[in-house]
Symmetry: C2
Subunit: 424 residues, 2 copies
């Protein structure tokens, strides 16, 4: 695929700080607002944001198949409803306008000032109206670790795990954007199996390092999306923290799966990086044995290498990185997840979110949750102030970051960050 805006030789007339997540080759989408202005669609470039509403109003988007209301919107869904090809045209046009060789906007500083906003000055919003949210469980190391911790190391993977991308439905209403603090959840748990359950704040609050992908409008109910069609239905990806209260989850989850142990909150990153921008970072996936059924077979490189890290920042000290993982460690890729999700005719809508499940790599420093890092609370991690963690404490901030990188280009996601306040 030749995507014009991905050209590594492109340079912008806007200054891009070194190691920025947002070079001209990225151009991720989000929803931002300035004080006293309504939320609208923006595109990140360096330390700035392109205001697409203003860009449209000033006539710079006359050739693209969009209307003002698509950008003058509190969520990306209206824009996304125009489809993948339209978004591609839009991203190419924005790339042209920011290109150092293009004078249209560059040569009109007064209008450029109206269109460009300092990222530091804005509030970022949840970028999507999320109709349905699905969470997969597609990292082999994570599933293996959980199997070792809760079942039998000799049979750590359940019999279905290598045959189906196991997933479950999550709660969309409680997905919030990076930066919004949450309260430690309360709930029912049974710390001592010999005694009745008790009610109180979760004592085992955990993060899960995940990536999410966002869908375009799918096919009507009753139709399936094949692995080869899947790319056309994926708008882009974001960082995702699937908060998990292990004590609540452990008591409730049999036989129907996680519920209150998860649905108190999940955090997504503010920036959706298009799948187009990530195409240069495709890598082969693992060889899948036993062989998968034909509907899960796929052609080409459908995994993506994305460096991921998680840091914990206790109050009044610096952050400590507790995990370095990579999205390439997924056993099941997005194409397989989407093909599986729809093989029974289940329909997807514009703005649905699907998350990867915890992404753990083979090495211990690559584990994507405190459950694994502390090996179910049997080890501690030292913070920079000398305090120790097995799980997440009150007033800790958990920060996840991610970027794909090759010799020429770094395509980043920004961060997903959230502070945990004490239980209400």
């Amino acid at each position: 695929m030749n995507i014009k805006a991905n050209n590594p030789l492109l340079k912008s007339w806007i200054t891009i700080p070194k190691n920025s997540d947002f070079p001209i080759q990225n151009l991720p989408f989000g929803i931002f607002s300035l004080e006293d202005e309504t939320p609208r669609v923006g595109v990140a470039i360096g330390s700035q944001i392109v205001d697409l509403k203003s860009l449209f109003e000033l006539g710079y988007l006359e050739e693209v198949p969009f209307e003002l209301a698509d950008f003058d919107a509190a969520v990306l869904n209206p824009m996304m409803l125009r489809g993948k090809e339209a978004i591609r045209v839009l991203r190419n046009r924005i790339s042209d306008l920011l290109n150092i060789e293009n004078k249209e906007l560059q040569g009109n500083p007064e209008e450029a000032l109206q269109i460009l906003v300092n990222a530091e000055d804005v509030e970022m919003h949840l970028p999507l109206y999320i109709g349905d949210y699905t969470d997969f469980y597609s990292s082999e190391q994570h599933a293996y670790n959980v199997g070792c911790l809760f079942r039998d190391p000799n049979n750590a993977l359940l019999p279905n795990w290598k045959h189906i991308p196991v997933g479950y439905h999550g709660r969309s209403s409680s997905i919030v954007v990076s930066g919004e603090p949450i309260h430690r959840p309360k709930g029912q748990k049974r710390p001592n199996p010999e005694e009745p359950p008790v009610f109180g704040p979760s004592n085992l609050l955990d993060f899960e390092l995940e990536m999410g992908f966002v869908t375009f409008q799918g096919k009507p109910l009753g139709n399936s999306i094949s692995t080869s069609e899947a790319d056309e239905y994926i708008f882009g990806m974001c960082l995702f923290n699937d908060w998990s209260a292990r004590d609540i989850q452990g008591w409730e989850y049999v036989p129907l799966g996680p519920f209150l142990g998860k649905n108190f909150a999940s955090h997504m990153g503010a920036w959706i990086v298009t799948l187009d921008a990530l195409e240069p970072f495709r890598v082969p996936g693992p060889i899948q044995k036993p062989e998968v059924l034909p509907y899960l077979e796929y052609k080409g490189d459908k995994h993506i290498a994305i460096n991921l890290e998680v840091a914990i920042q206790p109050e009044n000290t610096t952050e400590k990185v507790v995990s370095n993982s990579n999205y390439k460690y997924m056993y099941w890729n997005m194409n397989q997840q989407l093909a599986h999700h729809s093989v029974n005719g289940c329909n997807i809508n514009c703005g649905d979110l699907m998350a990867s499940g915890t992404i753990s790599g083979p090495e211990k420093h690559e584990y994507g949750s405190m459950l694994e890092i502390s090996w179910k609370g049997s080890k501690t991690v030292q913070m920079n102030d000398g305090s120790e963690r097995k799980f997440i404490n009150d007033n800790d901030t958990v920060i996840m970051r991610g970027f794909a990188q090759n010799d020429t280009t770094r395509i980043g996601f920004g961060e997903v960050s959230a502070k945990v306040l004490p239980a209400k």
Copy 2:
């Protein structure tokens, strides 16, 4: 509570057929359209529907706290956003207009003709935009039967079952309205545990007899709704068929719960009966032992007696009733379900749907799924054409009906009906 529109002495000037589900004491809400007209809000009365858009336009709703757009809408959500007290005022006003002692509309046959539509002439639509859908598992007999069939009759109920209203998140995108046919789902299953899984149409397609309840807008994320507050957040109830492909479900559901075995489709009834209209049918629930934690305690009668039936109609023959159950058999009531769902701070939105889980009574003829009726395929049920069923065949139509009844009044839900077409 004294709800004016519930007065059993009220009579309407509109003819109500004997045993109608929709007397003047009911007034359920739905979305309907006539040919060449846009969908809009309607209220069922006898065999007719009151067109609330026309009613508003002709000036009959001047005193109610609504606007035209609330009724000139393809879903009930805008109307519901006005809140419980506003809906109560509206229902009382409609009751007055249909009351035989009120001449306002009755005395103006020309306008009455514009406002009243024959139910037979309309298309009914999915009445809600459903943000999130949750399915509970709150009938003790059903959980016990499933435990006997898949685990151990001596430990049929799992340890958490009497402590928490077990529930899980379902898929909202694939919820459709009564009458829409569905295709038998295809998927991965493992009929022989000694052999690899296979792909194909589900061979064990089942219904689940459930009731759903629909919520008003809740509190912001991080807040809880108590059992005593719950009634104020419930708009009404509907019939619900939680289709289940037992073979797909059986292979996929460990450890994260049902997914493709459920999300190919669920059917809801077209009419939402307000909780207000159901108040006269409150009954005590079972004594809960062991005692529940304080956040699940409740006062007063919070269960509701609703007669339920399921019929199967094979093609070219008459229907056969295969189950008679009752919503009063729930172990956990809606107030407890909502209190549990939000105790961790999970937020609910206007138009969320929560279903009961399969409602099975203690007697065999009261079981609410073919899994239980055929006792996992070990027994057959004879249809009126002599054919036998263990599960649902292609071209069968499954019909569920429900009504609450006392000495004076019958408050019904209509039906939820759907034909199963062969796999695509």
